[in-house]
């Protein structure tokens, strides 16, 4: 109060200037304190907001992390069915491919199959006789005009050149079928002859005469019928090279005891058998007869 009065009265008193300065200082202090407080306030408030912001962000991030973890877990559970779908597709394709390969390989059993080559086609003729798969023969054809055979595995005594000059250029189907005929017949004859030599050699009394085409066979054999042993000599001619059964059969009874009717009966029946049934089957029936007789003797 006194200081204010002093100011109004003139202010030239010492107390007056000093006081005035004091008053200014105080004023200044007050205002600076105020501004300090203000900055503190603003600082405080800005810091508070920052804290809020950061907390918010933290919560957001935490939530995100949780969500992602949950998603990973979920996707891990989900991904397995996805992966098995892909795998099964692959397996499916592999199985299909294997199937196709097997089918192509199995075509061999139809007797006539082939594979494309860089220059044409390689035809495979698989021969068979009575359900037994026998040798396979190949003809490698070059697709050019004129069609020609590059190389082959056909035995040299099969008339390949003759069949080729007749049919190869004009009717390839006929060429292949004709070749199949010859080869199957040859394989069949060879099979019968081999069977006779191996499985029924006990019936043969001498060496089996055969030739490369197996189209002329000559042998002597014996058959036991009861107490008697009948021995014969047989010659089989296969003049038709596309057939596996003989065109001409001659069965003869060597020896002196040939005039009896029983011999003649057997001779004729054997001739008929050789003409109508494959060679090894005829001998199989002989061995069955012997077995039947043996059984009847035992019983």
């Amino acid at each position: 109060m006194e200081s204010a009065n002093t100011l109004r009265q003139g202010g030239e008193c010492k107390g007056g200037v000093l006081a005035y300065l004091e008053r200014l200082e105080a004023q200044m202090n007050r205002s600076s304190r105020k501004s300090e407080e203000l900055t503190v306030h603003t600082k405080e408030s800005s810091q508070r907001t920052k804290i809020h912001e950061l907390r918010r962000q933290r919560d957001k991030l935490r939530a995100e992390v949780k969500r992602r973890q949950a998603r990973i877990k979920a996707s891990l559970d989900n991904e397995d069915p996805n992966r098995t779908v892909e795998l099964s597709e692959q397996e499916d394709l592999a199985r299909q491919w294997g199937n196709v390969k097997d089918i192509l390989q199995a075509y061999r059993f139809t007797g006539l199959s082939g594979k494309l080559t860089s220059r044409g086609v390689c035809v495979c003729i698989s021969t068979a006789f009575e359900g037994n798969l026998l040798d396979s023969y190949f003809v490698d054809l070059v697709m050019e005009k004129p069609l020609r055979i590059h190389h082959h595995s056909i035995p040299v005594f099969i008339p390949l050149e003759r069949i080729a000059t007749e049919y190869l250029q004009t009717d390839i189907q006929r060429f292949l079928f004709s070749l199949c005929e010859y080869l199957n017949a040859y394989s069949g004859r060879k099979y019968q002859t081999d069977q006779l030599e191996t499985d029924f050699s006990a019936f043969l009394t001498g060496p089996l005469q055969r030739n490369a085409l197996c189209n002329l066979l000559s042998f002597t054999y014996k058959v036991d019928q009861g107490h008697q042993t009948f021995s014969f000599s047989a010659t089989l001619l296969y003049e038709d090279l596309t057939a596996a059964l003989p065109t001409g059969v001659t069965v003869m009874c060597p020896g002196a005891e040939t005039s009896s009717a029983r011999w003649e009966e057997h001779r004729a029946s054997h001739e008929m058998l050789f003409r109508t049934k494959p060679l090894h089957q005829v001998f199989a029936s002989f061995s069955k007869q012997v077995e039947i007789l043996d059984l009847s003797l035992v019983s």
Binding site: R108, D140, H152, N211, A212, N215, L216, S218
Partner: protein, 339 residues
């Protein structure tokens, strides 16, 4: 036992190398198993021969047995003979060949014996598909010379026969006649194919040398592409003419195939062509007569050598068709004339 037979057997035994002695005597099938067991195969050949002769004496070996031993020896040593290839042909439309080995042998022998009184003919069936025939030639007045026989290898029901060189040329037509008639053919022609390797000749003539076929059933994958080219082992090395090498390799494979080549020792080209030269006024130019020239290629394995010419860089690929057609055309003697 005839002393000539004994002498021949003795000389045959001395010819046979000791390592083959047992197998050949076994294949001969004249001495029994027990007799073979008693022979000491480690002694000197002269004593071994004497032992065998004694056994043959006991068994009374005859001319036919001696001839059979000669056939067995020749079968094992077939490369000692030069084989010529003959092709027979029938008239078109003839009956199917019902070949009967017994009838063939009988017929062949008869024809020779009717013409020449003194001739020794022997047969040996090799497997099911070939018959070896040995013929020792004599004359009306002299005994057959057993030391210079001719051998024939005939494959029945095929047109081919392989005949060793006959030293008496006058007997050749008779031999051909006998073979023709006995095998029921009308013509016999000599092919321009000769070699010491009988099996290779057979492979060429029967086209058996290429036996690789593509099929869905084959387990061996076809080795195409860089077969034999060991390139690119180090990625830092680039072969400058890789393309050219691959081209050569491809062309060689196409001409010769990927299979092993049959073995021949020579190819002979007889040229009767006019000499062609860019340089005019040379000694050989402008001759009206053709130049006669004989070119002979020799090798232990001629076709493999020819196959390796281009890959080795010695010749350009593709090779001349005159060189590559040998197996295909079944010829190794060529006569080349101007067209």
């Amino acid at each position: 036992m005839d002393e000539n037979v004994a002498e021949f057997i003795r000389r045959s035994i001395l010819k046979i190398p000791l390592c083959e002695m047992k197998t050949i005597l076994k294949a001969w099938n004249f001495l029994s198993e027990d007799q073979l067991q008693t022979i000491n195969f480690r002694q000197r050949k002269e004593f071994l021969a004497q032992e065998v002769i004694l056994m043959c004496e006991e068994k009374c070996a005859r001319l036919d047995d001696m001839a059979l031993l000669d056939i067995v020896y020749t079968q094992v040593h077939r490369h000692r003979k030069l084989w010529n290839v003959f092709e027979m042909s029938k008239e078109p439309g003839e009956d199917v060949d019902l070949f009967d080995m017994k009838w063939f042998q009988c017929s062949f022998k008869k024809i020779l014996q009717r013409a020449l009184r003194n001739v020794t003919v022997s047969f040996r069936v090799d497997g099911k598909n070939a018959v070896w025939i040995r013929i020792a030639w004599g004359t009306q007045y002299s005994q057959p010379n057993q030391y210079k026989p001719t051998f024939v290898v005939y494959y029945p029901q095929t047109p081919y026969a392989f005949i060793s060189s006959c030293h008496l040329k006058s007997n050749v037509p008779l031999l051909h006649q006998a073979l023709k008639v006995a095998s029921k053919h009308h013509q016999i022609v000599q092919m321009d194919l000769r070699s010491r390797h009988l099996d290779s000749l057979k492979a060429i003539v029967f086209r058996e040398y290429d036996q690789t076929f593509e099929s869905h059933n084959s387990t061996v994958p076809l080795q195409e592409g860089n077969l034999g080219l060991d390139m690119n082992l180090d990625s830092n090395i680039i072969h400058e003419n890789l393309e050219e090498k691959e081209r050569i390799h491809r062309v060689t494979q196409e001409t010769f195939g990927a299979h092993p080549q049959p073995q021949l020792e020579f190819a002979q080209y007889k040229l009767e062509t006019k000499f062609k030269s860019g340089i005019s006024g040379g000694i050989l130019a402008d001759r009206k007569e053709p130049l006669r020239c004989l070119i002979k290629f020799s090798s232990p394995h001629l076709l493999e050598a020819l196959k390796s010419l281009a890959p080795a860089g010695i010749a350009d690929a593709p090779l001349s068709p005159l060189l590559t057609c040998i197996a295909n055309k079944k010829m190794n003697y060529f006569k080349i004339r101007d067209k």
